[in-house]
């Protein structure tokens, strides 16, 4: 196995969503906590693309934000290239680690400051980290970066509103690359884009990965996109990883009933007329998640044990699966 660039262990993040103190006292409402991420562990090797996939509210974006330090974990450890980045203080001790990771956001319309010229947006990490000295040199470097992402150096003079969504996402990528990072966290980078533009951005990201040896943590709800870009995949449900491993294994021989359900729900472009298991129910509220295995109310294989006891991840072949049915070997065949 390649050596791990990012190690995540038992990562937990809770959000306090209680009503204000006064309301709690007067209306006698209890404190309530959302367990957005509830014990997630994975490793990303150098040069890999690890994708987290799941439906809205599963905590995948929270994991991304924990990794880059936009949130601090409630518990658990984050380790980047051997450096501890689990807390704000640990991060400030290991400043080098922060520069080596950057993030690409979902909404190309909100992720660029509308009052700034593109050149200043892209130059900001360069100026902040003092990577290049002098205005002329910075300008030259920004031009280089813009060309690397398929824009022209002259585009630096423009404001974000002069670009289309896809071009803005390119600017966003140029900014992320400006700090010469090794690791990019991509939070749904193409889900606000049209398919033809999505293809451009995905191709660009692959090209950059090859050229610069980047490692990606890729967040998406789109299984087809995830299949296309990743070397490894983790499927999340209500704050936990339910199944993770090599992409081919997860997609060709999914074991967790939730993974199977997700794969079954993808519209069939080939129109092969394959039968699909109807998908039942919706994601429950993360404020009050079901007992035991959080998936049991929607699971066709749920037993009393699933209702009572949360499954521990077990290693099956090249994947890890957290499911009692897998453990007890009562899983039906996958139609594949």
């Amino acid at each position: 196995m390649t050596d791990a660039l990012l190690k995540v262990d038992n990562l937990v993040r809770h959000f306090d969503v209680s009503p204000p103190w006064l309301n709690r006292v007067i209306e006698r409402k209890p404190k309530s906590v959302v367990k957005a991420v509830d014990g997630v562990a994975f490793e990303i090797g150098r040069g890999e693309t690890f994708s987290l996939v799941g439906e809205s509210g599963c905590g995948k974006s929270t994991v991304a934000r924990l990794v880059v330090g936009l949130y601090n974990p409630t518990a658990g450890t984050l380790e980047f290239d051997g450096m501890d980045i689990s807390s704000g203080t640990a991060r400030s001790r290991n400043r080098g680690a922060q520069r080596r990771m950057q993030m690409i956001f979902q909404d190309p319309y909100a992720s660029l400051n509308p009052r700034w010229r593109v050149i200043d947006i892209v130059a900001e990490p360069i100026r902040f980290n003092k990577l290049v000295d002098g205005d002329a040199a910075i300008k030259a470097r920004v031009g280089e970066l813009l060309e690397q992402v398929g824009l022209s150096a002259a585009d630096g003079e423009k404001y974000p509103h002069e670009f289309s969504g896809g071009q803005r996402q390119r600017v966003s990528i140029a900014r992320a690359l400006a700090g010469s990072p090794e690791f990019l966290v991509c939070d749904e980078p193409t889900s606000a884009l049209d398919v033809s533009v999505q293809a451009q951005i995905l191709n660009l990201m692959k090209k950059l990965q090859r050229e610069l040896g980047l490692t990606y943590l890729f967040i998406s709800h789109d299984l087809a996109v995830v299949y296309h870009v990743s070397t490894k995949v983790g499927v999340m449900y209500l704050g936990r990883l339910v199944e993770w491993g090599e992409t081919e294994v997860i997609f060709n021989a999914p074991r967790h009933p939730y993974t199977r359900m997700l794969l079954d729900a993808i519209p069939d472009l080939e129109m092969s007329g394959r039968s699909r298991t109807p998908v039942a129910g919706e994601v429950p509220s993360p404020i009050d998640p079901p007992s035991g295995c959080a998936f049991h109310p929607r699971c066709p294989l749920a037993t009393d044990r699933c209702k009572a006891e949360a499954p521990k991840p077990v290693s099956v072949g090249a994947a890890m699966v957290a499911c009692h049915a897998v453990e007890e070997d009562r899983l039906p065949e996958w139609h594949g």
Binding site: E55, S56, S164, G165, G166, Q167, D194, V195, S196, V197, Q198, A199, Q200, L202, N203, K206, H221, D222, L223, A224, V225, Y227, H228, F251, M261, L262, L263, D264, A265, I266, P267, D268, L269, E270, M271, R276, P278, V279, E282, V283
Partner: protein, 337 residues
């Protein structure tokens, strides 16, 4: 094809601005038969939602239908007064929009909104209307409908809310439903449920659906025929199977190649360079020519109309020479429509 329920002829929607008119929908013609699902697919700015809005008479001013005809059952509806159109909307044409939250009034119970709509369009007492509302909620698959009937919209989850919106659109048993991105705001598992529901309604009630979406996958699952739109025009229209598997317009071809699929794992996706032109800068000739790998001289200057037969046609000059994607397997071109 059976007598069409909806006919759109040479529809043109314009937005007058200080700097001249922007053409959002440019010379579109299409038919929908009873019980048919016509998918209208395209990327943002293609004019697909505007086409839907024109049919239900809900174009935001200053936008307007500049020319063309819209006929429902042979009767023109594009020149009706606001009040006449309001009667048709809901009764004969239902609408489902992308965001279920904005389609429902957050201040009223679901029962009230349903009963009101039913009583506006049908001659029923309040009691009968309530019974029908309950029936509708059951029909769209809301569990414990008796109980949920008197809930407020915020008490429903996203998927359930979209079901309520569908129930609302079904109130007066319309013969046509315009569904604008009905599954876009929903998670994949919920999306599949809503698609199944729409398909069932369509076959059980012979309701025609115009399904406007950017998602080819949804179209493939749901539609009988599909119109691919680009820069306000129809690039290609035909049976779903044909369009997806034997695309004739280079744009459709590129679009299909750009969609990542599970199984076919190429290193890179087919990509169409550039992006959809803004309405302020639609190129001369074929609007797609700056992005088209097969563009030749004529494409730069002359705008192609739909060429092909009554079933499957594309607005591309390659169709003339028979060089387009799948043109070879269509026997005998009957010329432009």
């Amino acid at each position: 094809m059976a007598e069409p329920l909806l006919t759109v002829r040479n529809l043109r929607v314009e937005f007058p601005t200080r700097k001249g008119s922007l053409v959002a929908v440019d010379d579109i013609s299409l038919d929908i038969a009873p019980g048919e699902v016509l998918g209208v697919v395209g990327e943002s700015g293609a004019g697909k939602s505007m086409t839907g809005a024109a049919i239900i008479g809900l174009i935001e001013p200053p936008g307007r239908v500049a020319s063309g005809e819209i006929l429902l059952d042979g009767r023109r509806i594009d020149n009706l007064s606001y009040d006449e159109m309001r009667k048709i909307r809901g009764k004969e044409i239902g609408a489902i929009f992308q965001d279920p939250l904005t389609s429902l009034n957050p201040l009223y119970r679901v029962s009230k909104q349903l009963v009101e709509t039913i009583m506006t369009h049908m001659d029923l007492t309040e009691r009968q209307a309530r019974a029908r509302a309950l029936e509708l909620l059951k029909e769209v698959g809301i569990p414990a409908a008796e109980e949920r009937l008197d809930h407020y919209p915020h008490q429903f989850s996203g998927g359930m809310r979209q079901r309520v919106v569908i129930a609302l659109a079904l109130c007066a048993e319309p013969r046509l439903i315009i569904a604008d991105e009905p599954t876009t705001a929903l998670d994949v598992s919920i999306q599949a449920q809503i698609i199944t529901l729409l398909k069932r309604l369509c076959s059980e009630h012979q309701t025609a659906i115009m399904l406007v979406t950017h998602d080819m996958g949804v179209i493939a699952e749901t539609a009988d025929r599909v119109a691919v739109m680009y820069a306000g025009r129809i690039a290609e229209i035909g049976p779903v199977q044909d369009v997806i598997k034997r695309a004739r317009h280079p744009y459709t071809e590129g679009l299909m190649g750009a969609i990542p699929t599970i199984g076919g794992r190429d290193e890179l996706l087919t990509q169409i360079d550039g992006s959809m032109p803004r309405l302020t800068a639609i190129p001369d000739g074929c609007a797609f020519h700056p992005r088209c790998p097969k563009a030749h001289f004529k494409c730069h200057t002359v705008r192609p109309d739909l060429i092909g037969n009554a079933q499957h046609s594309a607005s591309c000059w390659l169709m003339e020479s028979g060089a387009a994607g799948g043109a070879s397997d269509t026997a005998g071109s009957e010329g432009g429509r």
